[in-house]
Amino acid sequence: MSVSKRSTIIVEHLRRQQMLDNLAKGRRLDGRAFDEQRPLEIEVDVIKKANGSARVKLGNSEVIAGVKVETGEPFEGLEDKGALIVSGEVLPIASPHVEPGPPDEETVELARVVDRGIRESEMVDLGKLVLVPGKIVYTIFVDCSIVNADGNLFDATSYAAVSAILTAKIPILEMKDDKVVDTGSTMPMPVTTVPVSITQVRIGDAILVDPASEEEGCMDARITIDTTDEGYCALQKGFTGGFSPDQIRKAAETARIKGEQVRAKIKEATGFGR
């Protein structure tokens, strides 16, 4: 059952007031413009045991993503496609508010939204990851570990997952006597496009790109929009406030413009398209 609760991030009254006063003057507490992201750092191939990996820092939020390739049965109804599963976990080391144990609804939402953005963009050409149609396919696991939580985990996790996929080398497998054998060589992940997630929050009338933790503590509503080169592929509105239709249209436009910049950064860091 989903229960309404206060944000786990407590922002003091004076700090909140200071934030609101500043926003009214068009400023954010950390000096950023409303549509400005925190510094984004992407490092790839950080985990040698994984088929692909990336470490992303967005401000102080930090996520490590790893790709592991296995074989398995295809999903029901998608017999001629490989399986792609993106998941995320907020580790107990990430903040004092996280407890070990089964994921709470916010973590479930985070993992599902990141997965949806990548899945719906059709980033990975899953049709190329089939060994025996209807029976054996490649199963690509992209696991994201959040190691430091300081706001906007949706975007940080998405960038980490996308970067890990872009740099993944997957083993070329063959069928021999009804058994899967590893040929010893690898191929790059069959990638078609680079999806980029942009999260914005509304605090009063101000709409801010890439909210830091304390901004999330004061937010009225949140929206995460995933774009590809061509347009939109996924969206999730979150939290207990609403948006006017005009605010949504504006946010969608911002997500495309900002998304384009981040896409360039991800491509540069991963060497994709070169």
């Binding site: 059952m1 609804e105 479930v108 599902r112 592929c233 999730q236 006017s244 949504i248 249209r249 495309r256």
Partner: protein, 246 residues
């Protein structure tokens, strides 16, 4: 999603015979669960969903209580027999997420501050599922909240729009959801002009995105009228035709 067959025929008719701007048949009956403080049964296409509201009532466990407002608790659940293959009755990750977005869609409409230290529980049970069960569930839940006499700012109406055969269509059904190009569920408070739920999966160009949002909002307004009619029907019966007072 890659589409394998045509879902709109040469006459512009969809798999269930509707035009692209047509809503499925929607029927709302108010007060179907006698024990509940408020309830509603909705048939939205082939969806059959019952929503029941209990509260405001005492919060258990007590530590969940808030001193200055009430807590809204929401559960979206699908019965094992509601789907083609039996659904495991344990809550899936999908249901956890929908319970959350559903609560967040309803919360802006409820005057939580009027019921400090209390809880309002909203239970949404999908008995038979079709495409768009979260929208139908929110629509029913918001009528049930009104039926329970909870103070509200507006009624939340929900409807999806989507892309089928590269056309933007209103209120997509199960087949169109599974085989079509995109699905955008939206919940809207028409009087306040606030979107309280919005999701998207599937690819849309910027023009299609705006068209899809506009279409979903039109659908929400149609649903809103049906919600009002249903409530009027229960509380004023046939003697009062729904009169526009504004």
């Amino acid at each position: 999603m890659t589409q394998t067959r045509n879902l709109i025929d040469e006459n512009g008719k969809r798999t269930d015979g509707r035009t692209i701007d047509e809503l499925r048949q929607v029927k709302i009956t108010v007060g179907t669960v006698k024990n509940a403080d408020g309830s509603a049964f909705i048939e939205f296409g082939k969806n059959k969903i019952v929503a029941a509201v209990y509260g405001p009532r005492e919060v258990h466990p007590k530590h969940l209580a808030q001193s200055d407002r009430c807590v809204l608790r929401c559960r979206y659940h699908m019965s094992p027999f509601s789907t083609d293959t039996r659904k495991n009755p344990a809550p899936s990750r999908r249901e956890v997420e929908i319970s959350k977005v559903m609560r967040e869609a309803l919360e802006p409409a409820v005057m939580l501050e009027d019921y400090p230290r209390a809880a309002i529980d909203v239970f949404v049970e999908v008995l038979q599922s079709d495409g768009g069960s979260r929208c139908a569930g929110i629509t029913a839940a918001s009528v049930a909240l009104a039926d329970a006499g909870i103070n509200m700012r507006d009624i939340v109406a929900a409807c999806a729009a989507g892309k089928v055969d590269d056309k933007i269509v209103l209120d997509i059904n199960d087949t169109e959801d599974k085989e079509g190009g995109a699905d955008m569920p939206v919940a809207y408070m028409p009087t306040l002009g606030q979107i309280t739920l919005m999701q998207l999966d599937g690819r849309l160009s910027p023009e299609q995105f705006n068209e899809c949002l506009d279409k979903a909002l039109v659908g929400c307004k149609m649903v809103y009228d049906i919600q009002r009619q249903a409530l009027m029907q229960k509380y004023f019966g046939n003697e009062t035709e729904v009169k526009e007072e504004q």
